[in-house]
Symmetry: C2
Subunit: 309 residues, 2 copies
């Protein structure tokens, strides 16, 4: 009789939580003698290649005969991209997730919306099934918790989360080493780009809106590209006072990408949608054609309009 | 008989750890019916005013008759500034600290270099003496741990640290709310100062050292002062590659304050001590007299010397 086979599928643009949970479950099932495949349509980002066994992640597989297909950190098969067929072709479908969702995908649903991350949920799952956690597995799981709590800065990091982190650290996973890989390994050009953006910061007279910009000249002079701007809007938003923070990126002459962040319930998604963009109430984005100064005026004006000021 | 009196003295430019520990001990001793004063020569920075009872901190006192004077998060009376006289004038001297130091100040020394922070040490101290920790005290202590571990990003955040954090969170302290106050509530001038510092970043040819600077002109043009530079060195250190990151602050013409951070075991305390400064292996500081460029050359040269390159 053939070994039981499992396929774990990451969502598109895989992050630390999805990779950590998929790799941890894959390692556990391999340890139980199962035939295991981990799939991710998009490649493992460079700053997650420190994860043990991240090199085993495949971008695709021709197989459609898995016994169990598991969606990890997502319960929408469409978020899995090309890997969806391998999962939906499996004899049994499962999902392991902590997101809110309208769909109810999978015969086996291990979903808990109260935990910080899918990795935190996997710790519970391992405990309930007496699956031991070794140092490598602890590192995988801790990476997911660290990513999904924004390095323990979001309110989803609960007393229970910290208890689990303490345990994973005791098993040999290093919170500081993981945080450094995930959050503090920017190339110099990216840090200098952040510097230029923050130097450019301005606030509206009433202090309710702040914005920063990155120009074509900044990209060119620092030999940087748009991938180097990841996370910069969060630094713009880390200023005290304003309700809305905006980063304008002139990615090429005549094209301005706009990232919006809000606090205290202001809905930036409404603003982004005016310019055919979208997102969530607290984080949204859009792209405008035209000159940088014009794009700034239009977006700031729209924010003011929604503020009713 | 008069109530026993205590004075707790913060070091200059008080940070979250020193304030959290001093306020937590003050609250505990007040609860025991003692007469308690908390001193800090420099004002409580705006982003620490969320700390319960931070409004009780005095900048000075004429009293020299305290029963017990306690240096908090420092064992060098000179770091206490003007408050030193009130402490050294007390009948008994104590220090509660977690720093490496060459001095052995105080008749009562509660010093543990293995803990993340003075606040972590105070938790142990409270436990050993059956001092209960309420929600307010938990917030004070957690603020110190969060500040001194860089938001749990330094290697001093141990399994035991996270266990304590879990407990403090369970007592009602909010890690996410504290992290937001400590790290994400900077005044605009401070964020712009960060921007200028990061824009100025340079790396040595071999990539092992990076540095950034803040000049007198930067302070003046942004109407900022040295308190606005808190944490900037950590952003300088968040670049991928180098072993040592340095921030040079020309606080006034002819005075250059230097903050050093290291990775991978390089001991920046050794470097700081050459210039009569100090700190930890991974984080240290010193002050040089002279021009900015000269200070930069001297410190970078000294780092190179210790690197053996």
């Amino acid at each position: 009789m053939a070994r039981q086979s499992f396929v774990f599928a990451c969502h598109e643009r895989p992050d630390g939580d999805c990779l950590g949970a998929a790799l941890a479950m894959a390692r556990a099932f391999r340890g139980l003698g199962k035939d295991v495949t981990v799939l991710s349509r998009d490649p493992v980002p460079e700053h997650y290649r420190f994860l043990p066994e991240s090199e085993t992640v495949l971008s695709t597989t021709p197989r459609r005969d898995f016994d169990v297909g598991v969606l990890v950190d997502s319960d929408m098969p469409k978020r899995v991209g090309d890997a969806a067929e391998a999962v939906t072709g499996a004899r049994m479908l499962a999902c392991v997730d902590h997101h809110l969702s309208s769909e109810e995908f999978g015969e086996v649903r291990i979903v808990d919306r109260a935990v910080s991350s899918t990795c935190e949920l996997v710790v519970d799952l391992f405990d309930a099934n007496d699956v031991p956690i070794d140092r490598e597995t602890a590192t995988m799981l801790l990476a997911g918790i660290i990513f999904d709590t924004g390095g323990f800065r979001y309110s989803n990091a609960s007393a229970r989360t910290f208890e689990i982190v303490s345990r994973l650290a005791g098993l040999g996973a290093s919170p500081s080493a993981i945080a450094r890989e995930v959050f503090e390994s920017r190339p110099l050009r990216s840090v200098k780009l952040l510097g230029r953006a923050l130097s450019s910061m301005q606030a509206s007279d009433d202090g309710r809106i702040v914005w920063a910009q990155i120009t074509c000249a900044d990209y060119r002079e620092l030999d940087a590209d748009d991938a180097d701007t990841e996370g910069i809007v969060n630094s713009v938003a880390a200023v005290k006072g304003p309700q809305v923070a905006i980063l304008f990126r002139e990615t090429e002459p005549g094209t301005v990408r706009v990232s919006l962040r809000s606090r205290e319930g202001f809905d930036v998604n409404q603003v982004a949608r005016v310019f055919d963009g979208g997102g969530h109430a607290a984080a949204a984005g859009c792209t405008l054609e035209g000159a940088l100064e014009e794009a700034k005026s239009r977006v700031i004006e729209e924010v003011r309009r929604w503020m009713g000021s």
